[in-house]
């Protein structure tokens, strides 16, 4: 038994959960998959007086398509994101990025909402949310609020959720003809990334439009890089663009240094990850073109 003493409560509905939060607010901690919270409790890095277990809220576990959006409930387990047929079809980058999280036993327990609410600077899912321009829904005593992903992540382990609110859902816009790549560098398989990148763009007549470049693990939150997106967008697609996009992505980067990597090394890794992710997206497009040519 490692955590400091706390009291435990397991509400059976969202309404009850909000009531508990209203009553205990800052003193309480929400327990979802426990893959970030339990280590913090075990190491006594946090000592909440109440732990509220939301695993009984089945109403927060779903993946469904509504029009041009995919709605995912906050309690949906990460392994379902990897395998769900609709996700693989409509937003495959989410499935691929999720598979980079920890190990299978972590993903069987961990939830999408937990990863987003925890907001580790090196986590994959917050970066995917920024790349896909997702809207997050939180619910509190005064009702629901919707927040754009880029505004939701405010810093390391800091998000726009008040102490009496829960994250309930993410809404992902589904776009057509999206080419993408996600790459990260870890010291061992399953570790948090030292640096990672997502490159994503829609393809129209051999030109990238609506390009997005997001870095993770390099600053205190996922970082969209408009400068690199500008280089990416409206270019004729080609391998030779890769270095230019990558250079633009890290030009103004202010990486943090820690035990595992100096700022300079991290910046270099970030540059290489952008380049690889870009090349993956190009390869995806080439493959698709060959497929269409072959079947024509």
């Amino acid at each position: 038994m490692k955590p400091a003493p706390f009291e435990y409560i397991a509400p059976e509905s969202l309404e009850q959960a909000v009531e508990v939060l209203v009553q205990y607010g800052d003193e309480s901690k929400i327990l979802a998959g426990g893959q970030s919270l339990m280590p913090l409790l075990n190491m006594r890095l946090i000592t909440p007086s109440v732990v509220m277990d939301i695993n009984g809220l089945d109403e927060l576990s779903y993946i469904r398509q509504e029009g041009e959006h995919l709605h995912i409930g906050a309690l949906t387990r990460q392994y379902r994101l990897e395998r769900d047929a609709r996700i693989r079809q409509t937003v495959p980058v989410l499935a691929a990025a999720t598979r980079l999280i920890g190990h299978p036993p972590i993903r069987y327990a961990g939830t999408i909402g937990g990863s987003l609410a925890h907001a580790d600077p090196a986590a994959e899912l917050p970066a995917v949310m920024c790349a896909l321009e997702v809207e997050l829904c939180v619910v509190g005593p005064s009702g629901a609020r919707r927040i754009q992903a880029v505004d939701f992540f405010r810093g390391a382990l800091d998000v726009d959720i008040r102490p009496d609110e829960l994250l309930t859902e993410v809404r992902i816009p589904i776009r057509q003809n999206v080419m993408w790549g996600v790459q990260e560098y870890t010291r061992r398989a399953g570790d948090f990334a030292l640096a990672g990148a997502i490159v994503l763009a829609e393809m129209e007549a051999d030109r990238w439009t609506n390009g997005r470049v997001v870095l993770f693990g390099v600053e205190d939150r996922p970082l969209r890089v408009p400068r690199a997106e500008a280089v990416l967008t409206q270019q004729v697609l080609s391998d030779s663009q890769a270095s230019a996009v990558a250079a633009a992505a890290v030009a103004e980067l202010d990486c943090h240094a820690d035990l595992h990597a100096s700022a300079g090394y991290r910046q270099q890794l970030a540059r290489v990850m952008v380049k690889r992710a870009y090349l993956d997206a190009v390869a995806m497009w080439n493959e698709k073109r060959e497929d269409t040519a072959g079947s024509a």
């Binding site: 038994m1 435990y8 426990g34 893959q35 339990m38 190990h103 299978p104 036993p105 972590i106 398989a189």
Partner: protein, 165 residues
Amino acid sequence: MQPQRRTIVTTAVNGTPVEALVDVRTTLADFLREEAGCTSVHLGCEHGVCGACTVLIDGLPVRSCLRLAAQATGHEITTLEGVMQTECGKTIGRAFVEQFAMQCGFCTAGFVLSLYHLLEGASEPITDRDIHETLGGHICRCTGYVSIVEAAKRLRDQRTCRGNS
């Protein structure tokens, strides 16, 4: 609905009902060792990294150090003790011995449970990547891993598990 300091856990461990009154901060790992007598559950790191405490909850491998005993009510738990009663579990045990895939044995229960889940649960052919991904969630200080990977590949090729088909 009131927050509690102690709670009654009602669960099934390897098919046997277990009920106990515990402090709510008790982890599932400690509950399994102390209340259910499953000492195959080993605690290495207690923050999810080493894999030694892995058990199956409703058939899925998860870290028992990162779960509260209170969360086990209404769920079925399988530990190494349970898996070793099955044909698949025994086959894995034999392969580990034959391939020298264990030395001190501290990590072994975790490896066997994750492997059991992979071999029994796969709906598609198991690739080398699947094997590496599965074993990658476990740390072994003794073997150097190669022998464990070999045992896993041999088990895949033997096809004794996979619902014994």
